[in-house]
């Protein structure tokens, strides 16, 4: 049962083959039995999950169920959950019981989905490996000595190990797509503004965007359909109706124009990963798509642009953690400045402090033009490249990550090398475009992700393109040994 998709489980619930309570218990039992190997959960909400499951069963019996009613999911611990600890993977918020629900939380709960717990992540979503969490590193179910990617590593690992059929994540520079790739599952980062950021703890506000993980594109379509939508509580939320993402899943790909950015296939791409991507493109050709080379000449600047813009926004966003109103406060402080400095110094981990300091430096007097303004100018050029490309192609494809999952600890001492693991994903956030990663085979026995990039608000098209590939391949249904 744990290997079933959301769609299959939803049908089983509707037909009375299983109750949500049984399904939820089964997920909780798998978490209890298997998560010791992965550390994918920070908090398990057994009691409230079972209460919600019984309520969902009542709704199903009353004929009031939607497609997510009674479906268990895992929620990234960056989304506020009223009455439940929301730690963001940080000591700073270890004691923080959120006083309100994020809009994404509220929407999933209203749809009848069952939150079974909060998942582990890089501290404040700053990382590409899920190693910087205060709660210890997450492990990849395909090989527990490797990372699951990050920052939404717990959510990706939990779905890959079939602990839950779906989960939530956030993606500021690749934090949904890269862990989806490294864990062999499906993940989508929507257009900036498509999913509400209200109650999603802010890292870099002009880049942050929530989205779902699932095994299939069809399941991701169901999840995204619930998570997306205009929210007056998010000042950058887009006033635009949400399409029925499932309605277009079966559209033909005949004549689809796929663009391959030559910059994504150069030095630095693992040969076996490249071969898996090439094989996936052959499948697309069989489905009727045409492939042309395109160029994104400024994409190579995306990582340096990101490491100005994201730290600058993070240094501003994280100034709210002051040890006064909530969160961690240092003991025995002797004055107010000492309270601020020591609460923040002790409450934040090393990577968060590095980024706050880079951002503080970049925004400090005399440096603003050289760093932040310059980065925002190059950012526009990166976006222009995409807009030009989309005049000629429908979807852009390439590898999600330059390599398969790397070893735990392998890149911990070298921030720049860690940052480069997001080299193909970051440009998409800078441009605010939707992006997706789907399983496309294996290299060295580890999953490879194929990245799909669409034009603004082309989530439906991306899900369609992903779904059609998943009709002719079965990479997305492979399960790691020990979790089958």
């Amino acid at each position: 049962m744990h290997q079933k998709t959301v769609v299959a489980l939803s049908a089983a619930l509707q037909q009375g083959e299983i109750s949500s309570e049984e399904l939820t218990r089964a997920c909780l039992e798998r978490v209890a039995a298997l998560d010791g190997q992965l550390n994918s959960f920070i908090t398990v909400t057994e009691e409230s999950a079972l209460d919600a499951a019984r309520a969902a069963d009542d709704r199903i019996k009353a004929g009031e169920a939607g497609p997510l009613t009674g479906i268990p999911f895992a929620h990234k611990d960056i989304f506020c959950t009223r009455g439940v600890r929301t730690s963001c993977g940080s000591r700073m918020l270890d004691n923080f019981i959120a006083p309100y629900d994020a809009t994404v939380t509220r929407k999933l709960v209203a749809a009848g989905a069952i939150m079974i717990g909060k998942t582990n992540m890089d501290e404040f979503a700053m990382g590409s490996s899920s190693e910087t969490s205060y709660y210890g590193p997450v492990r990849n179910p395909w090989n527990t000595s490797t990372v699951p990617g990050g920052s939404s590593g717990g959510s990706a690992a939990a779905v890959a190990a079939c602990l839950v059929p779906a989960s939530t994540g956030t993606d500021t520079g690749g934090s949904i797509r890269q862990p989806a790739a490294l864990c062999g599952i499906t993940g989508i980062k929507p257009t900036y503004g498509r999913v509400s950021r209200y109650g999603m703890i802010a890292f870099a506000s002009s880049l942050d965007q929530g989205g779902p993980f699932a095994r299939t594109a069809e399941d991701a379509a169901l999840m995204l359909g619930v998570m997306a939508g205009f929210d007056p509580r998010d000042s950058t939320s887009v006033e635009r109706p949400v399409e029925d993402y499932r309605a277009t899943l079966n559209d033909s790909l005949q004549g689809l124009k796929i663009g391959l950015p030559r910059e994504f296939f150069g030095d630095g791409l693992d040969g076996q990963v490249g071969a898996a991507v090439d094989a996936a493109l052959e499948e697309y050709k069989k489905l009727g798509a045409g492939v042309t080379e395109i160029s994104l000449p400024n994409a190579r600047y995306s990582v340096p642009v990101y490491y100005v813009v994201a730290p600058a926004e993070c240094s501003s966003n994280l100034s709210r953690f002051d040890g006064v109103r909530y969160g961690y406060r240092a003991d025995d402080v002797h004055d107010l400045e000492d309270l601020y400095k020591r609460s923040r110094g002790e409450g934040f981990g090393a990577e968060v402090k590095r980024r706050i300091m880079i951002g503080t430096y970049a925004l400090s007097a005399g440096y603003y033009d050289a760093y932040y303004l310059k980065a925002q100018q190059v950012r526009r050029q990166i976006r222009e490249d995409f807009l030009k490309a989309f005049e000629a192609v429908d979807v852009i494809m390439g590898p999600t990550s330059p390599s398969v999952a790397f070893g735990i600890g392998e890149k911990s001492d070298d921030p720049v090398s860690m940052y480069l693991s997001d080299i193909y994903t970051i440009a998409v956030n800078l441009a605010g475009l939707p992006g997706m990663s789907i399983p496309a085979g294996f290299a060295s026995d580890m999953p490879v992700g194929l990245q799909l990039i669409g034009n603004y608000f082309a989530e439906g098209r991306l899900l369609n393109v992903a779904h059609q590939y998943q009709q002719v391949t079965d990479w997305h249904m492979k399960t790691p040994e020990g979790f089958a």
Binding site: N95, F96, P99, Y100, G193, S206, S235, V238, E239, Y301, V303, P304, V305, Y307, V308, S315, S319, D322, G323, V324, R325, Y326, G327, R329, V333, D335, L336, D338, L339, K341, R344, G345, E346, K353, R354, I356, M357, I358, T360, Y361, S364, A370, Y371, K374, A375, Q376, Q377, V378, R379, R380, Q381, R383, D414, P415, V416, Y419, L430, A431, G432, L433
Partner: protein, 95 residues
């Protein structure tokens, strides 16, 4: 741009972060590496390029000036490290 220990201390102060003296050399090295990495942006010609502030070039949405949130001070203050009579307490600022 290589940062020395005193610059790291200054940045940490601006960011209100207490950093152990023993950790300063490592921060200096890491931060210098990151800055050296981002300095490749200097080579990009951005003459007359307008900085991109919002991916969709959207402007700030306005709403009517009406009270929409309810007062939940007690719930909020339940999570505060130290409060008294509805106020957040910090060490004495003025002697």
């Amino acid at each position: 741009m290589a940062l020395d220990a005193s610059q790291v201390e200054k940045i940490a102060h601006l960011a209100r972060l207490a950093i152990d003296a023993d950790d300063i050399p490592e921060y200096a090295r890491n931060l210098s590496d990151i800055l050296a990495f981002v300095e490749q942006l200097e080579s990009v010609d951005t003459t007359s390029v307008v900085p991109l502030a919002h991916p969709l070039d959207a402007t700030q949405r306005l709403r009517p000036d009406a009270v929409t949130e309810t007062n939940e001070r007690e719930i909020f203050q339940a999570h505060a490290p130290q409060t008294e009579n509805g106020l957040y307490l910090v060490p004495k600022v003025i002697e």
